[in-house]
């Protein structure tokens, strides 16, 4: 009973670590996939913006036409980004025809392209999450929209709306967040970037999509590494405390048995070994229960918020989380183990 409780308690920080890692990796993977789905070769962003900027549209729309006229540029289209829910779920305002030309168009599960200014297209994940279907009204981005289509996911954003409407409703006409550029020859990327820098200025961030996507990785999410480190630290401490207390109680409860073993000639090392193996078992069982709980959490998240929280399983972190937990457990068992090992056998045998 005590062991079971310990195992569950030890599993909690394991779950925390794995969920955190799973969510961040899931978010990154989801954004990478959506950016690849755009079909662009280049990306032009506003001055001074971070690669993770998901909000705001400080760029003037004239740039799009200007960029489109440059050599080797086949197509340029401006996109207006706005966060819809937390920081992980964004909506994008697009020029439908241009964007469809660049990306090859959306694959609709039901409904279709925008017909009205207030039309909105949701991807399957977000439609499931919000339980919306074609024809429904959805309240989003501080206003009401009419669902014109549900698309398969994996292109640009989970939510798309007409660029003009988004600009108007944000009171920010003729402005965009970034420009996606498609070239007639992808080999010209470097040359085109150089040319665009001359045209727009050296301080305007211009990147190939490949470079941009490689920037989208977990190490580049600010403060995430620190946060994971903190949670891992908490994991060690909890593992340590739980095992320490649980083992200390076990040692007290089994004082007499330890005395028996000693009277049979068990050495200090033997007794310590028993306690440490039990801690090892607790650590392993705790990790396994933590992984189990993570699957539970993932199933729940997939059912409730598939678009906002795209979580995946990151198997290599099972090892890290497990190692951390087991180290904590072994350290926690050290003091009770040494106490047990140095019990006076006579006192232990007379212990009731």
């Amino acid at each position: 009973m005590r062991s079971l409780l310990s195992v569950l308690l030890i599993g909690v920080p394991v779950t925390l670590i794995l969920c955190l890692v799973g969510l961040s990796h899931g978010f990154i993977e989801d954004s990478q996939k959506r950016n690849l789905g755009i079909g662009a070769d280049l990306l032009v962003r506003p001055k001074g913006s971070s690669f993770l900027s998901l909000n705001g549209a400080p760029m003037r729309e004239e740039f799009v036409a200007l960029i489109a006229k440059q050599p080797h540029v086949q197509l340029a289209t401006g996109v207006y980004n706005q966060t819809a829910e937390g920081v992980t779920l964004g909506a994008a305002g697009i020029d439908y025809d241009q964007f469809a030309k660049m990306s090859g168009g959306f694959t609709f599960v039901s409904g279709g392209r925008f017909a009205r200014p207030d039309d909105i297209i949701l991807d399957e994940f977000y439609a499931t999450q919000t339980k919306k279907k074609v024809g429904d009204t959805i309240e989003l981005l501080k206003s009401k929209w009419h669902v014109s289509g549900i698309m398969e996911g994996g292109k640009l954003a989970h939510i798309v709306v007409p660029l003009k409407t988004l600009q108007t409703r944000n009171d920010n006409p003729n402005h965009i967040s970034q420009v996606f550029v498609k070239l007639d020859d992808p080999k010209q990327v470097t040359a085109v970037i150089k040319n665009l820098h001359e045209l727009l200025g050296d301080d305007v961030p211009i990147q190939s999509m490949d470079d941009f996507i490689s920037l989208l990785n977990v190490n580049n999410i600010p403060a995430l590494a620190g946060f994971i480190a903190v949670v891992m630290g908490i994991g060690v401490v909890i593992g340590f405390l739980v095992v320490s207390l649980s083992m200390y109680m076990a040692v007290l409860q089994r004082t007499r048995e330890i005395g028996i073993l000693k009277s049979l000639g068990a050495s200090k090392g033997f007794i310590l070994g028993i306690i440490l193996s039990e801690a090892l078992c607790l650590g392993i069982a705790g990790t396994v229960s933590g992984i189990g709980l993570t699957y539970g959490a993932a199933a729940l998240i997939h059912a409730l918020k598939p678009a906002t929280l795209p979580m995946i399983m990151v198997y290599e972190w099972w090892l890290y989380a497990g190692a951390i937990t087991i180290v904590g457990a072994l350290l926690g068992a050290l003091y009770p183990g040494l106490t047990a090992a140095s019990h006076d056998p006579i006192e232990a045998l007379s212990y009731e």
Binding site: E257, L261, S263, G265, A266, D344, P345, I346, L349
Partner: protein, 227 residues
């Protein structure tokens, strides 16, 4: 019984310090025991009988005096040497049967064998002992499914599984009814007679004491008489 002295004790003292008070548990004990002897030890409670066993059995060290078991001097042993001595040279049987409650009888015996470092499989000789003890068909039960007498016989089997030179039994029948007491005492006598096992047995019961070849009387931390 032959003429080798397996235990030689002289002027043995043991003083426990309890807080600021010194408790003199043993105040100059002299005792020799021959190999193959079955010795009973009697005396009032608190007279130091168990303490004497704890020293002979290397569970604790003497305060002063000499205590030689086999060829090993217990008064100058390190912790590790005492541990080694408990493994192979002595076997304990206690009043409370002291079996590990979560293990079957067989596993209780196996643990002792494992700690003692002897062969994992019981020798034919030991299988014979199990038959002698009458527990051969009770080995797969846990202690709480065994009667007191059976538990004590399992404890005896466990104590002698590593072929110790000396078996120390501290009131082995103290928790048993007459019937079970007699079985256990007869088992001890059999072990002594058939296998030549040296046995020291503490008892409160004068009738039990008669199973030994001779009886040592203790009082106030000393041996006052040997009959």
């Amino acid at each position: 019984m032959n003429n080798i002295d397996i235990i030689r004790i002289s002027d043995l003292h043991k003083t426990y310090r309890v807080g600021t008070v010194d408790v003199h548990a043993l105040r100059g004990v002299d005792l020799t025991v021959k190999k193959g002897e079955f010795l009973s030890i009697v005396g009032p409670s608190g007279s130091g009988k168990s303490t004497l066993f704890h020293i002979i059995g290397a569970l604790t060290s003497p305060t002063s005096g000499t205590a030689v078991v086999g060829d090993q001097d217990l008064s100058r042993m390190s912790d590790a040497e005492r541990t080694r001595m408990r493994k192979r040279t002595v076997g304990f049987v206690f009043q409370k049967f002291n079996l590990l409650p979560n293990l079957t009888a067989r596993d209780n015996i196996a643990v002792a064998r494992h700690i003692g470092g002897t062969a994992p499989e019981p020798t034919p000789e030991f299988t014979e002992v199990l038959r002698l003890l009458g527990i051969a068909d009770r080995l797969d039960h846990k202690p709480n499914a065994l009667s007191g007498g059976e538990q004590q016989r399992v404890a005896i089997a466990r104590a002698i599984v590593n072929h110790p030179a000396i078996l120390l039994a501290d009131e082995p029948t103290g928790n048993l009814d007459t019937e079970n007491s007699r079985t256990v005492l007869e088992v001890l006598r059999d072990l002594n007679q058939r296998m030549g096992q040296t046995i020291l047995m503490i008892t409160h019961n004068p009738e039990a004491a008669t199973y030994g070849h001779s009886t040592v009387h203790m009082r106030d931390g000393r041996i006052v008489e040997r009959t």
